[in-house]
Symmetry: C2
């Protein structure tokens, strides 16, 4: 019932028309191989794998869930086989360095694979996804010997990896972790402690799992400045890279969750397990930040994928299910009632899902281009530039797209009426699976503090100014004044967008001034500010897409209806979604006191 | 983990201070018994039953679910015993006629019991809840002989009842039903057809189940004008009221659903089952409308109850869980971190849950007073008046409160971070259970069409004008000009509320004018219009509550903090929630074309 098919036409539009990815790749000698032919072949092949191997396991994986038995976890039927197919086809190393066995393609192409796997079967995709997190941490911060030891088998997918951060007493506040790392004479460490919520922490897909573990040295400074990062393999690796002794890591249990049931969420107990320090001691949090940007974009993808999958199921249903007659007169006299897609509110829900899926996808690949640039930055200055751009967009993408993804999944369910609540259709699973996305990898509240507190206030609005300048520049270049032949058609997008960006700058400044007097405003405004920022960023995407679509329409191509639909969708976005910034701009600027004044004891009088 | 305790202080505030229920009861000879002492005793007793019997079965009922075996349904462990306790205590007949064994108390007191059961254990509460629906249908439309036959045992709770409307091919569009009723010579009918989504359609709580079934006579007019209503008992009833032969009704299966797993949702097959016509043939839809108002207020209650239960779990967690330090400086130096309730965004989520729960509760009891009046209306004119009031508020209550209830449940989960996703805490269950509330008893879209299409346009805004006049009158009477001693403090509520009500009237008129030219606007505007209406209705409640709280504060009572918290909550509502009407007023007035213009084939290009 949840058969997935990749939105290849939409991906091609983004790669070829909107973001000019092929020109972008040709600027880098390292990316010369990434030609349009190759990328489109990858899209087709990956779609085949995801639609035929992963999609059929989506509902069965949820129904069966993972099995825990005496420390061992068995994944649902079919997971191991499809993972083997994935490894054999070399998908895991698609965008990883050639020297460790990867194919060395740009990260943006890796995102295509991630999107397709994510939409076809999010729970399945988490296993290779967490490995990517571990691999990126090793690539960025591990020693060459460590890389040689672990990366080839992680790149091939023969081994998997995890990120072990959370403990029972702390999630967001990693300064509170208690896992200890005691140095041995041989340079290794004895790791002792318990980690919870470890996605892919234990499973039967691979012979080894390389855990990346946050722990504290005995003499570590208090709080976040005392965190170090260790490699703790499930099975120790001999010098010849063969598997050695089992390490002292055991899986204590797996969680019984609302959704993503086919993804194991493990409690891992480290009992003097042998670990190997990555980089320098006490620099763990800093290392985690580089990892987090990519992990958070991966989670942002979950927002897009929830929306896309829900839309792929609700749209055909809305065309088939008949109920009542159209308000403006009978549309299908030959049927007992009209298909529900004729009803304005149903159309509205479908349009909403469409603009969230397509607008969100554009946001992801827009960021993907920055990841490509960052990956091959020529010097520290360039690196800092792209790092700033990405760091600014990351919390917006993660929180905004997961919140909207959840909204879209719920709308998909709503299109079904009561039938959406029944397991059979798969919609309720999408909602349950999507629900985790605003919680893990930093809740929406944490992302919002990162955006307003760190990326705006601590940076004095520097990244925002750059982004605002880019958008305003785009608006100017594509307005009627600048002889844009489509300028008249673009007015309805360019003016509201420009105005909103100017407000964004002004409100940000006002919040910064207010925050000097009252720090609480950073927290009372932050989530509304983030959502406000998200709607503007998405409006920029829809403006760019509408411009490109108008350009293509002028060429009268065979698939002209595709481009017309893009313009219509942009119109819908600006008419029906973008006005949400009005309420947000009021609430985010409100005085903190209506939130802060109530005594803790006065919230309830039970 | 989900221990419920009834919000008695809040109920007393509404009954005693805000809505003057005791004066209201004394106006009716039939309600003389409903004194403050009795009502408060009922609140205490019902709380005991709900917190000690129903609340402990909330999570276990979800985990176990209902069992289906060869046509029979077994409810989860403990359900049957607690239902027996409920019947023995006489709770079912609390607000039903004395002549059939009830206690004859006003419907508004029945709502107190409904609220407590609903919040403690919604799935459990659905069994007696559906019976109430069947009982109300019988009371309104059945013959005296039918009432004598069925009502006493339904009122005692010895038997249960259902409402059998939906069929596989139709839910909202009841004109499409295919269940047939063929008359027999003895005045009974043979009912044949299949009904789906029948809540409490089969279970082990009672010896008999009285199904109220929609079906069509052989010569019935097409569509909704050809619907008739029948009583179809699971077990036929002999003339002496004893149980006779089993009727030809079988439960084919029960649904596997996202939530409310402890509530059985049955497929019922009628195979020449014996049925008895209620009222006149072909008047079924009309009869259903009287039933629907009460059923929809019951579902609106689910919104309040989801919000309240989530709040009762997330609040103590926010006080206990420690993470990071307050933005405005350390609050608990003795702890390793501050409790998360100090963080502005967490407080905001808690405040949101608080104002939804308390504001929603006020909306329910405000409507409850109208139900009381309708119940004892002296003549047709009075009846029409109260019916109009209730009919206008019902879709707002049902759709707005269930949408906000779901938002609040999700916020409760969000307060927990990743822990909220784990089954143990119960939050994810509340979200799953709440998710059905915007779907059944008419989706949000259906309610919105009822509001804008029937209650505004067809009635030419008559009910809205009356309601607007009441609110504006209240605002005038409580403004500074009218010598309200609290007028200065009330300004911040009264002005935005008055302004919004004036806009409400104006926008409604403009929509009516636009709808003459383009019917589609009724559907493109309807959901936003309904939500807009809901926020204004809730703002009226918060204004009345703030006024009463200010009056009480002036008296300096012992529980002064309770009243101060009410004023703070009202401030929060007006600052942070009410501004949502800004965006809604823009989107609802938008031209329908951005929704209607896209070709059905252009929604997707897969």
């Amino acid at each position: 019932m949840t058969q997935y098919s990749a939105p290849i036409a939409d991906l091609k539009f983004l790669f070829d028309d909107v973001f000019n990815f092929y020109e972008h790749y040709q600027k880098y000698p390292e990316y010369q191989e990434a030609t349009q032919d190759l990328v489109e072949m990858i899209m087709e092949e990956c779609n085949k794998f995801c639609s035929s191997e992963l999609s059929p396991l989506y509902q069965s994986g949820d129904k069966e869930g993972c099995h825990f038995n005496d420390g061992e976890v068995t994944t649902p039927k079919g997971f191991k086989e499809s993972y083997q197919t994935y490894v054999e086809a070399g998908w895991q190393g698609l965008a990883h360095p050639v020297e460790y066995g990867g194919q060395g393609l740009p990260p943006s192409i890796g995102l295509v694979r991630t999107e397709m796997m994510a939409t076809a079967n999010w729970a399945w995709a988490m296993y290779p996804g967490l490995s990517l997190g571990a691999m990126n941490t090793l690539i960025e911060h591990a020693s060459e010997a460590q890389k040689q030891c672990y990366l080839p088998k992680l790149t091939s997918g023969e081994w998997a990896g995890t990120m072990c951060l959370t403990e029972a007493q702390c999630g967001s506040d990693l300064g509170q972790i208690r896992t200890k790392a005691v140095p041995n004479n041989d340079g290794s460490y004895d790791i002792t402690g318990s980690k919870i919520f470890i996605s892919a922490g234990e499973h039967d897909l691979t012979d080894n799992i390389i855990h990346i573990v946050l722990a504290k040295l005995p003499d570590a400074p208090k709080g976040t400045r005392g965190i170090s990062v260790f490699i703790v393999p499930k099975v120790l690796v001999n010098d010849d890279s063969s598997l050695g002794q089992k390490n002292a890591v055991t899986c204590g249990s797996i969680e019984d969750k609302m959704g993503i049931k086919a993804s194991s969420t493990a409690v891992l107990n480290f009992d003097n397990a042998k670990g190997f320090l990555i980089g320098e001691a006490n620099h763990g949090l800093e290392y985690m930040f580089t990892f987090m940007n990519t992990a958070r974009i991966g989670t942002a993808m979950q927002g897009v994928s929830s929306s896309e999958l829900a839309f792929q199921i609700s749209l055909p249903y809305a065309k088939e299910r008949i109920s009542m007659r159209s308000l403006s007169g009978i549309k299908k006299p030959e049927l007992e009632a009209d298909p529900i897609i004729v009803h304005p509110d149903v159309r509205k829900m479908l349009m909403m899902q469409k603009v969230i899926s397509e607008g969100g996808r554009a946001m992801i690949y827009y960021a993907g281009k920055i990841v490509d640039n960052l990956n091959l930055a020529k010097n520290e200055k360039e690196k800092a530039k792209y790092d700033d751009q990405l760091g600014f967009l990351t919390p917006i993408l993660k929180a905004f797209l997961t919140e909207l993804g959840l909204e879209s999944a719920n709308l998909g369910m709503q299109v079904f009426g009561g039938h959406g609540y029944i397991k059979e259709w798969g919609l309720e699973q999408i909602v349950r699976d999507a629900r985790i996305s605003t919680l893990y990898e930093g809740t929406t509240g944490i992302q919002a503090l990162d955006l307003l507190g760190r990326k705006i206030l601590m940076q004095r609005g520097h990244s925002l100014q750059n982004f605002a300048r880019e958008i305003l520049g785009y608006c100017k270049d594509h307005s009627m004044i600048s002889d844009n032949p489509h300028g008249r058609r673009m007015n309805k997008f360019i003016w509201p967008l420009s105005k909103a960006v100017l407000n964004w700058q002004q409100y940000s400044l006002r919040l910064a001034l207010k925050a000097r007097k009252n720090r609480d405003i950073v927290g009372t405004a932050s989530v509304d500010y983030l959502m406000f920022s998200g709607y503007i960023t998405m409006a920029y995407m829809w403006t760019m897409m509408a411009q490109k679509a108008n350009e293509k329409i002028a060429e009268k191509p065979d698939n002209i209806e595709f481009y017309r639909a893009k313009v219509r969708a942009a119109e819908f976005y600006f008419d029906r979604v973008f006005p949400r910034i009005k309420s947000l701009s009021t609430t985010m600027m409100s005085d903190p006191k209506s939130i802060m004044r109530l005594d803790d004891d006065s919230f309830s009088f039970l």
